[in-house]
């Protein structure tokens, strides 16, 4: 039985009680305890800075050339917090409830409640660090709406919220580096966890500049290594985002939770051709003002602005009047796919729908005119003023759209289509964020913990910072308090030597294949299998096929991959080869997980299980659990189940109508 170590007591007291009773480490002992943090995104940077402040000796790793470049930097829309500054009925309970419901009742109540509880502290901390959130004229913080909620609780900094939050955490981290509490390793990739007496005691990392392997000891190891959406090849993730760190941990005993739970984001710039290397998100915040539609006529050939109002189908507003364009992501994505599959798609590929700002521009223009108290203003002037307002809100997103597509979204509606965006699955962790390996923790997108089967917008930033600033500083003490008797272990220890050998053997094996097919080609092929058969819609037959195909792909990869260059030099192709090899293994597990779950929930949509109206049909009596997979041997995993007990919320069918 998997024990999530959820504290006893009523839901709203669990975290307070935990903090009141967890073990502490005194300052003198903290200095003797070493912690390894892998990753410098919101989760890693905030954890490393906070642990450094507390006095632990911290080592931090990232594969980019600077910690500031972690993928969190790309987050656009915002971060949620239950501040109720808008007086619109928000509360900790409501944020908790929305998150559980948004996740289609597949998340753990205790974790989500804690997340909602600390959400307010995150905003306070970020403001104190100088994060320039958007403000109103009175000088107070501004909020916007995000999908799946009916309150305004999203804090933002134009379309660069992730950047600003990460810069805040990065600066806190750099300060600790300057103070000597934290040591930073840029352009390093963790390639293995070192386990001694069943506890995580360090890592093997590769210096990506010269290819040398290094051994690093830690009394505890934190993986803050982000999500694995790139298993689909095309996603909104940064090019380097990968599963390697989590996968190595998995193969060393850490269970993998809900691997198939993937978020497909409804509003991304559509694929333009085979050359495409990544997809670009158009933030969910755009759905505050943009209206989504397709023509009512199948195979429509007219341009968007030639199609009159009455011939447009605003299908989200039609199907979901209560939430309209702001339904959760999984719902919006499936609805777009449904329309395109039925022949109503737009653009050359017909795999796109419109996201239209014309109404918003007019509405804002009129408000501006109203403020000035003017009448009889021309339509052109209203539109011009409205465009200014829209520009202030979303300017950088509109610019990005224009650079990529060459079209001006102030004049023409955007064309958008769903794309892989986020992975709810990840390393299984207990309430303390510890994996099934003692002393090995997972934070941020790398863990599976808080979003169930579908994450609500603006909640990943919240979770990453909650984990790093406000959860791990407490929970790690509870573990390290018993470690003060354990001196640092020399990296000459046999376990370090053998683990390093495993890593170097694997690298040499990769380099010795000298086949004919590039790493990129294998990655694309894997992505296609995953997208076609384990993407927005899945079925048993497709998944079974996918498993066979992936096993075949793995064989081919290990016999025919072509990696140029040498081991002991800067060699991005070699780095990528290792990552793709891990993605291939992960892909198989994702399909196994999706096949096992004979229900639809959130982003996991099994075609066999849907309501008459095409909504996800859950099966609570059989699948109200987290699937946590234990790696046994090649192609073999054992399923463990963490039963989800809803003590406070009563699961019902999600309704956004």
């Amino acid at each position: 039985m998997l024990d999530a170590k959820i504290p006893a007591g009523s839901l709203d007291q669990k975290w307070t009680d935990y903090k009141g009773h967890c073990k502490l480490v005194n300052p003198a002992n903290k200095r003797k305890l070493e912690v390894i943090v892998v990753g410098t995104g919101l989760a890693g940077a905030s954890a490393a800075a906070s642990l450094g402040e507390l006095g632990y000796k911290v080592k931090v790793f990232c594969f980019q050339d600077s910690p500031r470049r972690a993928h969190s930097i790309a987050a656009q829309g915002g971060i949620n917090a239950a501040k109720n500054y808008q007086n619109d009925g928000d509360s900790i309970f409501r944020l908790f409830y929305d998150t559980i419901k948004g996740g289609d009742y597949r998340a753990r109540e205790a974790n989500v409640h804690r997340l909602a509880e600390v959400s307010g502290n995150i905003i306070d901390q970020c403001v104190a660090q100088g994060v320039p959130f958007a403000r109103e004229y009175g000088g107070l913080l501004s909020n916007r709406s995000f999908g799946g909620t009916q309150v305004q609780r999203t804090f933002y900094a134009a379309g660069q919220t992730g950047q600003q939050l990460l810069i805040g955490a990065y600066q806190a981290l750099e300060r600790q580096i300057a103070l000597g509490n934290v040591k930073m390793y840029n352009r390093h990739e963790m390639l293995e966890v070192v386990i001694i007496d069943e506890k995580a005691r360090g890592i093997i990392a590769r210096d990506l500049v010269n290819g040398n392997l290094e051994r690093h000891f830690g009394h505890a190891v934190l993986l803050c290594t982000g999500g694995y959406g790139n298993v689909f090849y095309l996603s909104t993730n940064a090019m380097g985002s990968n599963v390697t760190a989590a996968w190595k941990a998995h193969k060393k005993g850490a269970f993998f939770g809900n691997p198939s739970f993937t978020q497909i984001h409804p509003t991304c710039i559509p694929v333009s051709g085979d050359h495409q290397s990544k997809l670009t998100l158009m933030s969910e915040s755009l759905r505050n003002d943009g209206r989504i539609w397709v023509p009512k006529k199948q195979g429509e050939t007219r341009k968007a602005n030639e199609i009159p109002e009455e011939e447009r189908d605003y299908y989200l507003e039609r199907r979901y009047p209560a939430f309209g364009n702001l339904v959760p992501r999984d719902v919006a994505s499936r609805a777009a796919k449904e329309r395109c599959d039925a022949g109503f798609g737009v653009g050359t590929s017909k795999q796109a729908v419109y996201l239209d700002f014309a109404d918003a521009i007019k509405r804002y223009g009129k408000i501006e005119i109203g403020k000035e108290g003017r009448e009889n203003v021309s339509e052109e002037e209203i539109i011009a003023l409205g465009k200014e307002v829209v520009k202030e809100k979303y300017g950088n997103l509109f610019d990005m759209y224009e650079k990529i597509t060459g079209e001006n979204p102030y004049e023409l509606p955007m064309r958008i289509y769903p794309a892989v965006h986020y992975t709810m699955g990840g390393l299984w962790v207990d309430y303390e964020l510890m994996t099934t390996v003692k002393g090995l923790y997972a934070l941020g997108e790398a863990n599976f913990s808080d979003h169930g089967a579908n994450r609500l917008g603006a909640s990943a930033l919240m979770q990453g910072l909650a984990d790093g600033y406000f959860v791990i500083p407490y929970t790690i003490g509870n573990y390290l308090a018993d470690e003060i008797y354990n001196k640092s272990i020399s990296t000459d220890h046999e376990a370090f030597v053998t683990t390093e050998k495993e890593v170097s053997n694997r690298i040499e094996k990769l380099m010795s294949i000298k086949g004919n097919i590039s790493v990129e080609t294998f990655h694309k092929r894997l992505g296609k299998i995953m997208w076609d058969k384990c993407g927005m819609a899945r079925n048993a037959q497709g998944l079974e096929q996918a498993i066979t195909e992936i096993q075949q792909l793995k064989k081919e990869f290990w016999s025919d991959v072509k990696i140029p260059g040498a081991i002991n030099e800067f060699n991005p192709e070699l780095d990528k080869a290792g990552r793709v090899a891990d993605f291939i293994e992960l892909g198989e597990l994702m399909c196994i997980d999706a096949l096992q779950r004979n229900e639809s929930c959130g982003g996991h949509f099994r075609e066999e299980y849907q309501t008459n109206e095409g909504e996800a049909l859950r099966d609570d009596s059989n699948y109200m659990y987290v699937s946590a997979w234990e790696h046994k041997q090649e192609h073999t995993w054992e399923l463990h189940k963490e039963t989800l007990n809803y003590e406070v919320i009563k699961p019902t069918q999600r309704n956004y109508k």
Binding site: A49, S50, E53, S66, R68, R69, H71, I73, A74, K83, N121, D124, Q125, V127, A128, Q129, G130, P132, F133, R135, Y137, G139, L140, L141, A157, Q160, Q163, Q164, I167, Y170, Q171, A172, E174, R175, I177, A178, M184, N186, V209, A238, M239, S272, G273, H275, Q276, S277, T280, M400, K403, G406, Y469, F470, S518, K562, P564, G565, E569, F570, P572, E573
Partner: protein
């Protein structure tokens, strides 16, 4: 938008490592779509090189959406290429015509040594931030976010400076390889906010000292940095930095 395909000649800087002297090498690419991004075009070339058993060209990149600051490249004599307010990863091939020759070089500055080919080491920027580019507030110290109202214009101006992505194009564009625009963006971001006030003087002193130590050149106000900056960081920030520095100097306790 009319799409087209093109054939191009690429003149690319190749350098094995920091010690190597390096030099240009020419490559041909065919059937490049105007819809591709510049880096996707380089992906095509690299796939071609791998197929032919040659060493692919190393270049830095990650987000490919203009925000991480990882991509660089001096393209036809301009950092991040010819488009205004743009990063290399967001440059698209419709900026080029069939038959063109494109010259691609790394950032060139003493403080940014070449790692390989087009990849440089920009860790000097991190060390400048370490010297004072932060507000000293430990986790858990904060009061309620709305207890400190901040004038919207000040907040917006701080945000405009905080948009810097740390790419280093300003240094690459500057004939003196000065890091003043980067540095001034951070000093401005923090000086414009009341939270940044307590450490105002030490911050500007320490950061400037670190910049000098890293070997960046002096600023002679040519404005090349501003023109190259993908985030349109204003040169007015440099004036603010100078003012902050002067103020700190005059009022410094001896």
């Amino acid at each position: 938008m009319q799409h087209y395909n093109m054939n191009l000649t690429l003149k690319v800087w190749r350098q094995k490592n920091k010690e190597d002297k390096g030099g240009f090498q020419n490559y041909q690419v065919k059937d490049i779509s105007s819809e591709m991004s510049f880096l996707e075009m380089l992906d095509v070339l690299n796939e071609q090189l791998i197929r032919d058993g040659q060493d692919p060209i190393a270049f830095d990149h990650d987000c490919r959406e203009g925000i991480c600051g990882m991509c660089s490249l001096y393209i036809n004599g301009k950092p991040h290429g010819d488009w205004k307010a743009n990063t290399t990863c967001q440059l698209h091939m419709r900026a080029f015509k069939d038959g063109e020759t494109i010259v691609i070089e790394p950032w060139r500055a003493g403080a940014f040594p070449v790692v390989k080919d087009l990849v440089v080491d920009r860790s000097a920027f991190d060390r400048i931030i370490q010297a004072g580019g932060f507000i000293s507030v430990n986790t858990g110290n904060a009061v309620d976010g709305n207890s400190l109202p901040i004038n919207k214009d000040a907040a917006d101006a701080a945000f405009a400076a905080a948009m810097c992505i740390g790419c280093g194009a300003c240094v690459a564009a500057c004939k003196n390889a000065s890091a003043m625009l980067f540095l001034s963006a951070k000093v401005s971001h923090l000086a414009l906010l009341p939270q940044g006030d307590p450490e105002r003087k030490s911050r500007v002193f320490n950061m400037v000292a670190q910049m000098d130590k890293e070997g960046f050149g002096a600023c002679t106000n040519t404005g090349a940095c501003e023109a190259a900056c993908p985030k349109e960081i204003s040169i007015a920030n440099i004036a603010r930095l100078n003012k902050e520095y002067l103020f700190a100097s005059i009022t410094a306790e001896k």
